[in-house]
């Protein structure tokens, strides 16, 4: 059985932005094994994005522990978290994923540039990934010249470019039509197999949930079900 690569215990997050504290996560205990293709589902405000942000090192929990790939994220400072994200996490967001002034290929290369990889290696990997996500013929187009689905594919290619251990996708299909959403999910599942990265994505889209091999359901910040398909 693959080893556990993400472990949270008693993960709590309380937002104190207004006078009334808002509890986004209320003690989440979770284990995710290497190579899983997991959907975190639930209604709006259930804490899906917060959970992904904390696992991705974008936010700190109010209470509880989070260990990702052997790193205790609570103990990392801001600068160390940035390096952690660069080396271990690939992000796909709902929107505004790409740098508008760069072409698809440059966007994919950019993350590898931050990792200081050699130019030749960057270019070869960017071309390979864009071909794998079906955008071999659009790599010199800027995001504004691509459809929403194509932009998300570039985002997935960009997320994989740095060879991260984990891909975290926050509502990646929210702005896509059904066909584009299905295509993106199929492609992500394929990349999960090919690149051996652990995929976790939040969604409340039923069509997406069906593609996941494990479905964790959150409600009011707590896990109400955790189902792994056979």
């Amino acid at each position: 059985m693959p080893e556990v690569v993400i472990r949270t215990s008693g993960l709590t997050k309380v937002y104190q932005e207004t006078k009334v504290p808002v509890k986004a996560l209320g003690g989440v205990d979770l284990e995710i094994r290497e190579g899983e293709f997991t959907a975190v589902v639930g209604p709006s405000g259930s804490g899906k994005s917060t959970l992904l942000h904390i696992i991705g090192g974008l936010d700190y929990p109010t209470q509880g522990q989070v260990e990702v790939g052997g790193h205790h994220l609570n103990e990392l400072n801001d600068r160390e978290l940035i390096d952690f994200r660069l080396e271990h996490i690939g992000f796909v967001f709902q929107a505004f994923n790409l740098i508008p002034v760069l072409t698809a290929k440059e966007n994919v290369e950019f993350i590898m540039l931050l990792q200081k990889l050699p130019a030749k290696e960057r270019e070869a990997r960017a071309v390979q990934l864009l071909q794998e996500v079906g955008l071999g013929d659009r790599m010199h187009n800027r995001p504004s010249e691509l459809s929403g689905g194509q932009q998300q594919r570039v985002a997935v290619a960009r997320a994989l470019a740095s060879r991260p251990q984990f891909i975290l996708a926050d509502e990646p299909t929210a702005n896509l039509d059904s066909k584009a959403a299905a295509n993106l999910l199929n492609m992500m599942a394929e990349m999960n197999q090919r690149e051996k990265a652990t995929f976790i994505f939040s969604t409340h889209d039923q069509r997406v949930i069906e593609k996941a091999r494990r479905v964790i359901t959150l409600e009011d910040g707590v896990i109400v079900s955790d189902v792994t398909k056979a």
Partner: protein, 403 residues
């Protein structure tokens, strides 16, 4: 790639970037013109002072400038003039007898400096003959002719051929006097000579002084100003018994004019740079606020704060690097053109001449001044970009992406 992103980012909103670039360019152009004009003013003052008054350097008895008395005549004046005659860097020289005295007409009197001159030498050094607006250069009257300035003539209520009496102390300290008749009225660009300089023949003055061996001043005109320090140094080492002074040493106000010109440029630069800084801060803050989500995303995927800071800084530097040279080029073209055709200020002739300026000015700028302007713009841009860059790096990735 960071450079590429920064460069492309400034063209995301071309109108805004072009406005900033234009503001930088027009600002530099305006400064170039103003500084070019100020340079031409101070240059005309200095040139007039050299060509019509001080010359490039002067030789005196070491005591003469402190106590301008007849007895302080230059020792070895013959040897010095021989040296000057054979020095190829020297264009011309003029030996003068200088006496302080009083001039009186029947209606008024005034204190003056009396120049006893060698006619040909003085003509070659100060072009005195060309400054005459009435009369002639000692050609009519063989003896006791005098040239006075327009201003002095007005003060003494004198005209051509008016008889004037010069009173002064001779070499032994006795008061002596001589009657001279106005043979010419001049209008000098030198305020000093206009105020109180009169010219007579050297032999006429010597006769009244009771000697013909006095030389109080030797004014030396060089072919080029750059040769002045070297010749002055050589004269100093050859003739240590005489005092050699360059025009800069003789006329501290000339140095003051130059310093004022530099100060004016510095003040103008600071004013422009402050205005520019506010423009840049405003533009770059807008650029940062508009791109909050994108900056948040960049931080989320692993772009560190140092790189974000550098990117915003680079965008600002690019704006100034485009605007700066454009402004310099515009300034160069305009200043060069005006430097060729000149700026005619003859409408203000009286005022300008009173202060020793020419009525036609030829603006110019040195390479150093161009470099200073561009460097100031780039430095201002970097300083102005600090705050927007700081705002960018202080963004929280999640909040920024939510905004």
């Amino acid at each position: 790639m960071l450079l590429l992103i920064a460069w492309r980012n400034i063209w995301r909103n071309p109108t805004r970037s072009i406005v900033v670039i234009a503001a930088i360019a027009v600002g530099i152009w305006a400064i170039a013109l103003t500084v070019g004009f100020i340079n031409s003013l101070s240059d005309s003052y200095i040139r007039n002072s050299i060509n019509y008054d001080y010359s490039h350097l002067q030789v005196h008895h070491p005591q003469f400038l402190q106590e301008p008395e007849a007895r302080y005549s230059i020792r070895n004046s013959k040897s010095i003039t021989e040296y000057l005659q054979h020095n190829p860097e020297v264009k011309a020289y003029s030996q003068r007898v200088l006496i302080n005295g009083m001039i009186a007409s029947t209606r008024a009197s005034s204190g003056v400096q009396i120049y006893g001159i060698n006619l040909d030498q003085e003509k070659a050094v100060t072009s005195l003959d060309s400054l005459l607006i009435e009369g002639n250069y000692f050609t009519e009257k063989p003896r006791n002719a005098i040239l006075i300035s327009r201003k002095l003539a007005d003060k003494l209520k004198a005209e051509m051929r008016t008889k004037l009496v010069l009173t002064f102390q001779d070499i032994e300290g006795n008061v002596t006097a001589g009657a001279f008749r106005v043979q010419g009225i001049f209008d000098s660009p030198s305020p000093r000579l206009t105020e109180g300089g009169v010219y007579v023949r050297q032999q006429d003055l010597n006769q009244l002084l009771g000697t013909d061996t006095l030389v109080h001043e030797i004014a030396v005109l060089m072919h080029a100003n750059t040769q002045t320090p070297a010749v002055a140094q050589e004269l100093r080492s050859k003739y240590p018994a005489s005092e050699i002074k360059t025009w800069e040493e003789l006329s501290p106000e000339l140095e003051l004019i130059q310093e004022q010109s530099n100060l004016t440029m510095a003040i103008l630069l600071v004013i422009l740079m402050v205005a520019l800084a506010f423009g840049i801060v405003n533009t770059m803050l807008m650029a940062v606020l508009e791109r909050e989500r994108e900056l948040g995303m960049l931080m989320a995927i692993g772009m560190n704060r140092q790189r974000i800071f550098s990117m915003i800084l680079m965008e600002t530097v690019f704006l100034s690097l485009v605007g700066g040279p454009v402004g310099c080029l515009l300034g160069y073209v305009t200043v060069t053109w005006l430097g060729d055709v000149g700026i005619d200020l003859s409408a203000w002739t009286k005022g300008l001449q009173q202060y020793g300026y020419s009525t036609k000015l030829f603006p110019f700028l040195s390479i150093k001044e161009y470099i200073l302007m561009v460097a100031s713009v780039v430095l201002t841009a970097i300083l102005a970009a600090m705050y927007p860059s700081y705002k960018a790096v202080k963004l929280n990735p999640i909040e920024a992406m939510r905004s």
